[in-house]
């Protein structure tokens, strides 16, 4: 029983950074912008969160700084693609390269420094329920935050006027513009939100999941988060489910290593990447479903005078 709980908990922990990043990208894409720089924004968040916390500040200040750092580098992307009409695919790639380089540069003095893990916040009463208590209610604060954000993003998109406007901008920016909505400003806001959440995802890695800083420590999670958004057909709760599934793959890899399976560790480490491709293929093969769910204006440039 306790072992089952331990495995399931580790699955949840592995899912959290993906969930943060994918939720942010979901909002960005819903507004019609494809930001491929998730990996770079996560690294910016990871190194900032770690640097602030390791410099003796409260870990939550680190978390906030990480979100700000993610949003700051996302702002570069926003200015380039929304104001200067740069190609979104290329700009996203540039953001990833820039994020990898900058985080390695900034993080150099922090390599090898140990850090206390983000403390657990057991919820009174609920945390003491057998099985479900340790599984769901004895986590650190960021796990609860991730679930609340999933709920928040879901409610925002389906129940609020602002969410409807974001979706309208993503579905048809010319119509939204004609109705008088500031298309570029709304998109810029969504890009910043996406950056902030990717920053949180990075911070979860460097402050809670493996409390340390290592160059390139996201190891492709930003790209997996991008695939998750497609997998979830742009729906927040499915992002949560998908993130847990990928958490499961990551854990399967670690546990198989622990069991001394005769498979070389390099092959086990391929699992999350292969699984991402498999899942992407499974979901994309239904082209109609993707077309019906994808924001219609995704990746398209918008200039109010054109």
């Amino acid at each position: 029983m306790t072992e089952t709980v331990a495995i399931l908990v580790s699955m949840i922990l592995a899912a959290a950074p993906l969930l943060f990043a994918a939720l942010g990208e979901l909002i960005t894409e819903k507004s019609g912008v494809l930001n491929l720089g998730v990996e770079g924004m996560m690294l910016a968040g990871a190194v900032t969160g770690f640097a602030v916390t390791a410099s003796g500040h409260d870990p939550w200040l680190g978390v906030i700084a990480a979100a700000a750092a993610g949003a700051a580098v996302a702002a570069i992307f926003g200015v380039l693609t929304l104001l200067l009409l740069a190609n979104q695919v290329a700009t996203g790639l540039a953001l990833t390269m820039f994020g990898i380089g900058l985080s390695a540069l900034v993080g150099k003095p922090f390599v090898g420094i140990p850090l206390e893990k983000l403390p657990a916040l057991p919820i009174p009463l609920l945390g003491r329920i057998p099985f479900f208590g340790p599984l769901l209610f004895q986590h650190d604060g960021m796990i609860y935050l991730a679930v609340l954000l999933t709920l928040g993003v879901h409610l925002f998109l389906t129940r609020t006027r602002a969410g409807l406007i974001v979706r309208a901008v993503g579905e048809n920016h010319d119509a939204a513009h004609a109705l008088g909505y500031p298309v570029r400003l709304i998109r810029f806001g969504c890009v910043l939100f996406g950056g902030a959440l990717a920053g949180l995802g990075g911070a979860y890695l460097s402050l809670a999941y493996t409390p340390m800083w290592a160059q390139n420590m996201t190891a492709g999670r930003g790209w997996i988060a991008l695939a998750l958004v497609v997998f979830a057909t742009w729906k927040p709760w499915r992002v949560l489910a998908g993130a847990l599934l990928f958490g499961g793959f990551t854990m399967a890899q670690l546990h198989a290593q622990g069991l001394g399976l005769a498979v070389p560790p390099e092959f086990l480490a391929m699992l999350p990447y292969l699984a991402t491709m498999l899942v992407l293929v499974a979901i994309s093969r239904d082209a109609t479903r993707i077309r019906l769910n994808a924001p219609a204006c995704i990746g398209k440039l918008f200039h109010p005078d054109d």
Binding site: L36, A104, L105, L226, E266, L280
Partner: protein, 361 residues
Amino acid sequence: MLRLEARPTPSTAALLLSPVLAIALTLLTGMALFAVLGFDPVKTVAAYFIKPLDSAYGLSELAVKATPLLLCAIGLALGFRANIWNIGAEGQLIMGAVAGSGVALFLRPEHGAAWVLPAMFAAGALGGMAWASIPAVLKLRFNASEILTSLMLTYVADLFLRWLVNGPWRDPDGYNFPQSPMFEPDAIIPPLLEGTRLGFGAVLALAVALGGWFLLSRTFLGFQIKVIGLTAAAAGYAGFNSARITWMSLLLSGGLAGIAGLNEVAGPIGQLTPFVSPGYGFTAIIVAFLGRLHPFGILLASLMLALTYLGGEAAQISLGLPVAVTSVFQGLLLFFLLACEVLIRYRLRPQRAASRRESRG
């Protein structure tokens, strides 16, 4: 306030000047960055961009580093023109190196066997093509984004390479270092000039650039690539086979990346190691854009980005600057480049002047 006004036709001057402007802005930002890091900006830029080129050996090293960039970028640019976003050239490069190394390690040649190197080049190209054919199948058969699949395959290729050099292909006499035995002399590309590491690959890369130019500007296939990239709908009405173009561009870019990888292991490195490439496959994306997706532009751009690698190494040794500075430089360059591209199709106008004109009209 300035506003963007669409030009009636794209500006040729801006087309040619935008890369130059981007390089200048990158240098200025780089100098500011050095100042923040506590280095003398002028001295650092000199160490980074001028010092590596003050000897004949330095110039030959520039060509050594430009070779894989040029090979990869030409292939990628053909795809980018057709809106095929293969960003996994790094993985295809690795698989080319692996396949070519396999030939070198296991088809032990009799001394003087002249077919070994050609066989290795063929294996390198096939290895890269095989790896690039996976995203092609997944895109055409299952509609999966080649951006994500080609990138995921890069991680898989890297892990596969690590497994090989840590396991079955590890040199038994290599003191447990994760690397293959050194290749036989027949399986190593001889240098073109004595005392340098510059080999036949550089000539091949130049030929590929020329071939890329011919393909794009003088053949029907090149025309189809350009039309599909500009307006996929028009290409569809004209009856162009977009699946064929997808296959072509992925196989070409994969094959060229594979050759680039083989050229590294059989050339400057001489064995299979986990460090086949310092990210050439990713940097080639910047090279392609800096060269404005034109083969001759890409040739110049490959030299420019080769210089960032050389400069990064030199500055690391002489000034103790972290290697990561190179990636920052490269990322900045791509940012500025994309920002400056706006000037090709739009011009900046002062907001007030523009509105006055509108009210008059």
